[in-house]
């Protein structure tokens, strides 16, 4: 009986707190944000959270774009406050004068992007003189450059062939390429056609990173609630996907455009860091993400993907992550 009374006390207490606090804080200052993301398994947590109404549409308006370039376009037009992008895309946008800050990491490619070759090469340098397909202006170009750096080759040492992802299989079948920088599910298709995996993104750890980037001018008090809510909704969805992967798979299949049995395999090669891991990667002056960004800036400058250097000031902000619970 005593316990029951205490419970009652708590219920009435929390009710009182809510009526007193909520009206005075939330509507006064909070402004909503609009976020762009395209359809990619790493970003699916956002769309999932949106469908399951874990994402409050009064706080966050999620806009689906067809590609990262469209997301960048909308960012530069000021139509959205933030976008889901890869680290190199964020660096490119900053070089073009668009101040972006990373507030969260969606995923890290650890094997999802790879170089598939027709012949079984012993060393990566053997791609010299070969016709290598890749997607220009995308992660593929970045990976190709990293591969060439590691192999100590120049772009002129190979025959680079620009192919969008939808052409990779066709070009392979028509014998128009000797190797291709690609990703799932095409990568598996090529391997089943006899291709060999020569290199994958595990060999350049923390380089291909999908992040949530917010325009630096939006990172202020009045948008803080909305951004925190967005980040929290992502982690809620991620937690659900981890805990009940089968149910989540059914609920993500339609949007990802995959049969349900292919949904979970689509996350192959992707590390989806939780809150603690996000903190570990982003916090501090020697954060791994910052080191990766430094290395990336150097390599992108060298390959002409970046036209000017970046001080990396305000690149990362961990204020919007849920508190480190470790």
């Amino acid at each position: 009986m005593k316990q029951f009374n205490r419970r009652q006390f708590i219920t009435s207490l929390s009710g009182l707190v809510l009526t007193q606090i909520l009206p005075s804080c939330t509507w006064l200052d909070s402004k909503p944000i609009t976020i762009a993301a395209h359809n990619w398994p790493g970003y699916e947590s956002l769309f999932f959270a949106n469908r399951e109404t874990w994402l409050d549409r009064n706080q966050v308006n999620l806009v689906e774009t067809t590609s990262a370039s469209e997301s960048m376009q909308r960012l530069s037009e000021g139509k959205v406050s933030g976008a889901a992008l890869t680290l190199d895309e964020v660096l490119k946008a900053r070089a073009h004068g668009l101040p972006l800050t990373i507030v969260m990491i969606f995923d890290i490619s650890a094997g999802a992007d790879m170089l598939i070759s027709r012949a079984r090469f012993k060393k990566i340098t053997e791609i010299k003189g070969k016709r290598v397909g890749f997607e220009k202006g995308a992660v593929g170009e970045l990976l190709l450059n990293e591969i060439l750096n590691l192999a100590e080759l120049k772009k002129t040492d190979i025959k680079p062939i620009e192919l969008t992802i939808d052409k990779h299989l066709q070009a392979w079948q028509n014998n128009q390429i000797d190797a291709v920088v690609t990703y799932e599910p095409v990568a598996s298709q090529l391997q089943s056609l006899g291709g060999f995996k020569l290199f994958d993104s595990r060999e350049i750890p923390n380089t291909i990173v999908d992040v949530l980037a917010i325009r630096s001018d939006v990172l202020n008090f009045s948008h803080a609630n909305a951004i925190r809510h967005l980040v929290a909704a992502h982690f809620h969805a991620l937690n659900y996907i981890n805990k009940n992967p089968q149910d989540a798979a059914y609920r993500m299949a339609t949007h990802l455009g995959l049969p349900v049995v292919d949904v979970l395999p689509a996350f192959k090669g992707l590390v989806l860091p939780d809150t603690n891991y996000n903190h570990r990667l982003m916090a501090g002056t020697s954060a791994e993400l910052l080191l990766s960004a430094k290395r990336l800036v150097k390599s992108m400058l060298k390959n002409g993907l970046l036209k000017k250097s970046d001080s990396l000031n305000t690149l990362i902000n961990t204020d919007y992550l849920p508190r480190d619970i470790s």
Binding site: K136, E162, Q246
Partner: protein, 1053 residues
């Protein structure tokens, strides 16, 4: 078939003891049992009827036996309670049960971690998860959402069934609906079919079953599924059956701890391979088994529902509460304190207000009494009379029939209002000021204000007296308001007259005898006389000798007959300066109708006169050189024509233009340029003065001068020779060095000459002829003279015609864009280059080579270029909504003149915005030569466009003088290899080398390469081999109309 009772956890003490004893006994005899190779028992929970379940799973025993022939297998079917007892007493070796039952067993019996998860098969579709179904009769129109469940009767099997109750309860509790509190439950026990029958029979409005039950019963022909509807149906296209909730991992196969590892492994291996045993899986009606799922979510569900084994709530202490809600508690306490403080203040204020209200009521009564006592006195006073408070509140208003019209508002409405609510702000402030003065001194008089009444503006003057009042009473004032409108109007008129008199213009007033009685200060300022010096004198004092007596006679005549004269008059100042003035003299008559005064207004027009002269000079002379200008030249030319006709003598025009004047201006500045023009003007004048012909020099503007020669020989040849001589003299003279400031400068001039005799042409035509000849002289090498010849005119005329038609073409849209396809490595369409065509209504297609240079010269290229840009953007917009075309790009060519316009980037941006297209799809083609022109400005413009997303291609690459240095600085995306290198690529080794170099360079600069003019497969082969990825040329298509283009390429691959 018997149905077990609903399971409850209230095991009696005796039951517990039995379980314990049986378990202990079992453990004691265990070694004997296992060694005796007893059949292996598999306990399965019945979710349909026991017989049905047993029959369904019998093939599993057969399959296991087949794989492990040395052992026998027995399938045993249990209710939930029976399974618990069987497991706890170790009478069964393996179990297959639902996740919540498994979690209960794991708590009490130490069953192993899951060995495998069941994979079901519904019409060929595999599923390793299941969920709950919430259904009602399809005919139930009032039940459509989960919230409609409140107050309804729900049929369930058992509260410990995961798919048949717990998942549904969990789902509802997440929506804020408590099953226990807001619905009625009927527990029917296993199998779940009973739930379905009960709902169909109307025994309950709602039923809960696990997924698949409805479909299975329908398939067995037991029910018509159309009679039922599933609530909160989830849209999961890949899931084979209807479901109302989230999905949870399927049933678990686990082993008991006493089973030796080897046996467990064997059984597990058989389960995992079961799907290959088609016979068995088909008989059981499942897909097989998969590696075990994560069941922690089921644990979470049970904990949240407080379902067994987590039915006991965790206990906590007051300390925990304080710890957890410390922040909120503090805020609540602060909030309570704030509420208390505020309430106290509110009570206080209310009390004060009540007190004040009482006082004011009393005062009002007193006021009414005093008002009555004064009424008689007041009635006698002619002015408006008010009684006001210090704050301007009206307490009484007294009027009579004579002054009632002076009230600003009806009498009745005033009482209780304040002056600030009745009168305009200014007037109210004056009343308040008067009241305050009276309050201070006891009395106030003289405050005046005006009010706009129905019959015009009225002025009032106030007299205010303070009433003696008792201490508690509010101070009151008796206010008399007198109408002083007439007095005020007179004062005002006087004031205005005084102001007017002291205006900027000099004024003199003289009496009827023309003796000055008054002057104003402007008069003193302009003419220098003080008032004392002129009063008593007559205006003759200022008389100048510029006008004769006739002038003055006329003036006085006018004044006498018309009462006024005005005109220009020259007056003498005190310092003897004579200045022009504009005068108006008016005779002012007195009441007797005779002239009383003369009033003169005098305006100094010295400045006005001077600027009129200057304007005349400016109109005909060039300010810089003081030479006659074009207008004067044309006037004189007309005279010269007339004289030529009269005297039968020829004349000539020489049109001079300095060579390289612009360079001088640009390099040394305009000041130096102006110096040269002045010196040229004076040299021309001087050298022609010495000549024996009549010569006049004029400057047309800029560096253009014209020399007009008159009175030449009547014989054309001779006249030409004369002209030749003069021109030679000018050429020689002007080629002598000039000293401009500190610079020595060598100048030359080009001269065009046109003869005229007896007025053959208009002055304008003649000037144009001389201009054309000058232009030819310039083209012929400068520093010489050429005569005009009619062939020149024809060429000019043809050009003018083309220009006129080009203008018309711009206005009437005779242009058309043709599109030439650009393809990628695989030959797929990437987009097109837009090429302009002029479809002339009479002349047919006109090549861009013919009209683009002219368009550039005339500036028409700007309008044409904008049209091209606009049309291309329109096309991109049209392509945007089609799956096939939406990524196609369009390249447009931009002329140098257009690109270097200051607002080029802005224009492009607004065009893109207007059409709402993706800027990345627009590619601007620039040529090397235009980039080199103003490299820094070019880079700025390109960067601005680039930041909008627009791409750049460098056209005709390889034909100009591109240096790597600047290529690196330009924000380019693409190099276009010029077709001249492609034509012979198959045979010419140097072309091959050039193309290879260009491609390598582009790759190192991270630029895309496109080859244009690709005509043969052979050329394509070479280019591909060298690493070129993009192509354009007749091999793919020539430029075609948009209709043809879309017909050819806009079709699915």
């Amino acid at each position: 078939v018997t149905f077990p009772k609903p399971y409850t956890y209230n095991l009696t003490l005796i039951q517990r003891i039995i379980i314990l004893v049986v378990s202990v006994l079992y453990i004691a005899i265990q070694p004997i049992v296992t060694h005796a190779a007893e059949p292996i028992k598999i306990g399965i929970l019945a979710y349909r009827s026991k017989a049905q379940t047993l029959k369904q799973w019998q093939p599993l025993a057969v399959a296991l036996k087949k794989n492990m022939p040395e052992r026998d297998f027995v399938i045993e079917v249990f209710t939930n309670k029976e399974l618990l007892i069987a497991a706890n007493s170790r009478q069964t070796d393996f179990i297959l049960t639902n996740p919540s039952s498994y979690i209960n067993l794991a708590q009490s019996s130490g069953v192993s971690a899951p060995l495998a998860t069941l994979a079901t098969n519904t019409n060929g579709q595999l599923a390793t998860v299941f969920g709950g179904v919430i259904f009602s009769l399809a005919s139930q129109t009032n039940i459509n959402k989960l919230t409609d469940l409140k107050g309804k009767t729900i049929a369930i099997s058992n509260t410990d069934s995961l798919g048949g109750y717990q998942i549904q309860a969990y789902t509802l509790s997440h929506m804020g609906i408590s099953i226990a509190n807001s619905t009625k439950r009927i527990s029917l026990g296993m199998p779940q079919d009973k739930v379905v029958y009960t709902v169909l029979a109307g025994g309950a409005e709602i039923g809960f079953v696990r997924t698949g039950v409805l479909e299975a019963m329908a398939q067995e022909g037991k029910i018509d599924i159309k009679q039922l509807k599933v609530l909160n149906r989830q849209s999961l296209p890949d899931f084979p059956v209807q479901v109302s909730t989230r999905l949870f991992p399927e049933w678990i196969f686990a082993s008991m701890p006493h089973i030796e590892e080897n046996t467990a492994r064997h059984v597990a291996a058989t389960l995992f391979q079961l799907e290959e045993n088609t016979e068995a899986v088909n008989a059981i009606g499942i897909h097989g088994f998969v590696v075990p799922a994560d069941y922690s979510q089921v644990t979470d569900l049970l904990k949240e529902l407080r379902a067994p084994p987590y039915e006991h709530p965790p206990s906590f202490t007051l300390h925990d509460v304080v710890e957890r809600y410390r922040g909120q508690l503090l805020i609540v306490l602060l909030g309570l304190a704030a509420i208390l403080t505020l309430s106290f203040r509110l009570l206080n204020t209310k009390r004060k207000l009540l007190a004040e209200q009482g006082i004011s009521l009393l005062q009002k009564q007193h006021l009414q009494i005093s008002q009555a006592s004064l009424q008689a006195t007041i009635d006698a006073i002619p002015d408006l009379m008010f009684e006001l408070g210090l704050d301007g509140e009206y307490y009484s208003v007294t009027t009579n029939s004579n002054n009632q019209h002076l009230l600003y508002a009806p009498e009745k409405t005033l009482i209780g209002l304040r002056v600030s609510e009745v009168l305009p702000e200014d007037a109210a402030n004056i009343v308040l000021a008067a009241l305050h003065e009276a309050d201070q001194t006891g009395y106030s008089q003289g405050w005046q204000f005006a009010l706009d009444l129905a019959n015009g503006k009225s002025w009032y003057e106030l007299s205010v007296a303070k009433k003696i009042s008792s201490k508690n009473q509010q101070q009151r004032f008796v206010v008399l308001s007198r109408d002083i409108t007439q007095r005020k109007t007179a004062e005002e008129d006087q004031r205005i007259a005084a102001i007017v008199f002291e205006s900027q213009e000099a004024m003199v007033v003289a009496d009827k005898n023309n003796v000055i009685v008054r002057v104003n200060s402007a008069f003193t300022h302009i003419l220098g006389y003080s008032a004392q010096e002129v009063i008593g004198q007559t205006p003759r004092l200022f008389k100048s000798d510029r006008q004769d007596t006739h002038f003055y006679q006329n003036m006085w005549e006018q004044i006498t007959t018309h009462g006024q004269w005005h005109g220009e008059i020259w007056n003498k100042c005190k310092n003897n300066d004579i200045i022009p003035m504009h005068a108006i003299i008016t005779a002012v008559k007195g009441a007797d109708g005779l002239v009383a005064y003369y009033v003169a207004t005098l305006t100094d027009i010295t400045e006005r006169k001077r600027s009129a002269d200057e304007i005349e000079h400016l109109a005909f002379y060039d300010a810089l050189t003081n030479l006659p200008n074009r207008r004067m030249l044309l006037d004189r030319l007309k005279l010269a024509f007339a004289s030529s006709k009269r005297n039968h003598r020829d004349g000539a025009l020489l049109f001079l233009d300095l060579d390289n004047f612009k360079t001088l201006n640009d390099s040394l500045g305009h000041a130096i340029g102006d110096l040269l023009l002045q010196q040229v003007a004076s040299r021309l004048t001087n050298c022609l003065r010495e000549s024996d012909t009549i010569a006049r020099v004029a400057r047309l503007g800029g560096d253009e001068f014209v020399v007009m020669l008159e009175d030449l020989s009547g014989d054309t040849n001779e006249a030409a020779a004369q002209v030749q001589r003069v021109a030679q003299k000018i050429l020689t003279n002007l080629s002598q060095p000039f000293t401009l400031d500190s610079y020595q400068y060598l100048n030359s001039v080009s001269i065009g000459a046109a003869l005229f005799s007896e007025h053959e042409h208009s002055p304008d035509d003649l000037l144009q002829h001389a201009d054309i000849a000058m232009y030819q002289a310039k083209k012929a090498g400068r520093n010489n003279m050429l005569f005009f010849n009619p062939n020149m005119q024809d060429a000019i005329n043809a050009r003018t015609d083309l220009e006129r038609e080009l203008r018309k073409a711009v206005d009437t849209q005779q242009f058309q864009l043709y599109y030439q396809v650009q393809v990628d490595y695989l030959g797929d369409t990437m987009g097109a280059e837009a090429l302009i065509r002029w479809n002339h209504p009479e002349r047919g297609m006109i090549s861009p080579y013919q009209f683009i240079p002219l368009a550039e010269e005339t500036g028409l290229i700007l309008a044409i270029g904008q049209w091209v840009l606009n049309t291309a953007c329109e096309q991109l917009k049209a392509w945007q909504n089609n799956e096939i075309t939406r990524d196609w790009t369009i390249s447009v060519n931009v002329s140098a003149k257009q690109f270097h316009q200051a607002d080029f980037a802005t224009t492009v941006f607004s065009t893109i915005q207007r059409h709402t297209i993706n800027p990345r799809l627009l590619k601007i083609e620039l040529t090397e030569s235009m980039l080199l022109e103003k490299i820094d400005e070019t880079i700025i413009t390109m960067n601005r466009l680039r930041s909008m997303g627009i791409n750049f291609s460098l056209d005709d690459f390889g034909t100009g003088y591109s240096s790597l240095q600047y290529l690196k600085r330009l924000p380019l995306n693409q190099l276009k290899i010029d077709q001249s290198f492609i034509r012979d690529i198959a045979s010419d080794h140097s072309d091959q080398a050039i193309v290879r170099t260009i491609i390598a360079m582009a790759q190192s600069l991270n630029l895309e390469v496109i080859a244009e003019g690709v005509e043969t497969d052979k050329q394509l082969g070479y280019l591909r081999n060298y690493g070129c990825n993009h192509f354009q040329g007749y091999l793919f298509s020539k430029p075609i109309t948009i209709e043809a283009f879309e017909k050819q390429y806009k079709k699915p691959e």
